[in-house]
């Protein structure tokens, strides 16, 4: 499972990246997709997910659509136009971070 705290700073980027490839997703769907892609290594709790989604919404990167799915209401999240552009920036930042960390993990090996 690894140390979940190490993923904390990347959660918003992960959410943006997932929503880039989907029209819209709801909270549970996001947690399941992350779990599937990471083969169970990363489990996002509601306590971590919903504040991250609210922050992205406050920053204008996500918008909410509430849909009646028959037996209840469901909140879907999707990228705004600004969010789509910002995802590219966030992914570039993440890549830079990973390259930097790689120098600590394997000092003799550099991706540059």
């Amino acid at each position: 499972m690894g140390n979940q705290k190490l993923y904390k700073g990347s959660l918003q980027t992960i959410i943006l990246k997932l929503l880039e490839s989907q029209d819209k997703m709801y909270g549970y769907e996001i947690t399941q997709k992350v779990k599937e892609l990471t083969k169970g290594k990363l489990n996002i709790t509601e306590g971590a997910l919903y504040p991250a989604l609210h922050k992205l919404e406050a920053d204008g990167l996500l918008e909410v659509e509430i849909v009646n799915i028959g037996n209840r209401l469901r909140k879907y999240y999707k990228l705004t136009e600004h969010g789509t552009k910002e995802t590219v920036n966030k992914m570039a930042e993440l890549e830079t971070f990973l390259n930097t960390m790689q120098t600590f993990i394997n000092p003799k090996f550099s991706l540059d």
Binding site: E46, Y50, P51, A58, L73
Partner: protein, 228 residues
């Protein structure tokens, strides 16, 4: 398997029994759990399962506080955006200029005591609309965390004004607020009241938008619960 409406209501009632009174917070938590349970075949939905999934009372309250914390930060940001947007238009500057001119005229043509009393009355009156809406929300059975947090942003500048006024009282404990350091109080009120009105106006505008959205949502939720 899809959960029935009765099962959804069962989950919602369970959260209500754990003192989670805000329907909009429950909405997210119910959907999250219901989505999870719908993946499970041969599900037996009972209190024991809900206790296992949601955790104890402390954990439920903590989860709801974390979600509410996210909403609070979101709304604080959105209200400041509303103020910024208002000031990018000329109407925002007309608004501010009007109240600064009004402040000057009240100061110029009245005495110090009347000036201070008038400003305190303006501050209190500016909060009356949100006070009425807040009472309405508390009295009705559809308490919404989103609306409560939107309302706190309307009163934010009032809370900030309180501190210097309390400091002035603290520095002159034997006198009344009208006796204590009139010059500084006058200057403070003249400067800050128009800004307070700006933030209160933008906060209230944002609250009305949020109120409209969440009232529609609540009515939609009631229709689902009523339909069988």
């Amino acid at each position: 398997m899809t959960l029935s409406k009765e099962q959804i209501v069962f989950i919602d009632d369970y959260l209500k029994s754990k003192r989670l009174k805000y329907w909009d917070i429950r909405l997210e938590m119910v959907d999250h759990l219901a989505s999870k349970l719908e993946q499970e075949p041969n599900l037996i939905l009972d209190e024991a399962l809900l206790k296992q999934e949601f955790g104890d009372l402390f954990k439920i309250q903590k989860t709801s506080q974390i979600i509410a914390g996210g909403i609070k930060k979101k709304y604080r940001k959105l209200v400041f955006k509303e103020v910024k947007l208002f000031l990018t238009h000329s109407i925002g500057w007309v608004f501010l200029s009007f109240f600064y001119i009004l402040e000057y005229l009240i100061f110029r043509y009245s005495n110090n005591n009347l000036f201070i009393k008038t400003n305190i009355a303006i501050i209190i009156l500016s909060l009356l609309p949100i006070a009425l809406f807040s009472v309405k929300n508390i009295v009705q059975k559809n308490r919404s965390k989103h609306l409560e947090l939107a309302a706190t942003n309307v009163t934010l500048s009032f809370s900030l004004i309180n501190f210097p006024i309390m400091m002035l009282l603290f520095l002159n404990p034997e006198g009344t607020i009208l006796d204590s350091n009139k010059f500084w109080l006058t200057l403070f009120l003249m400067t800050i009241v128009p800004i307070h009105l700006l933030f209160t106006y933008c906060g209230f505008k944002f609250y009305l938008k949020t109120n409209k959205g969440y009232t529609q949502l609540f009515n939609e939720q009631c229709k689902i619960n009523a339909a069988n």
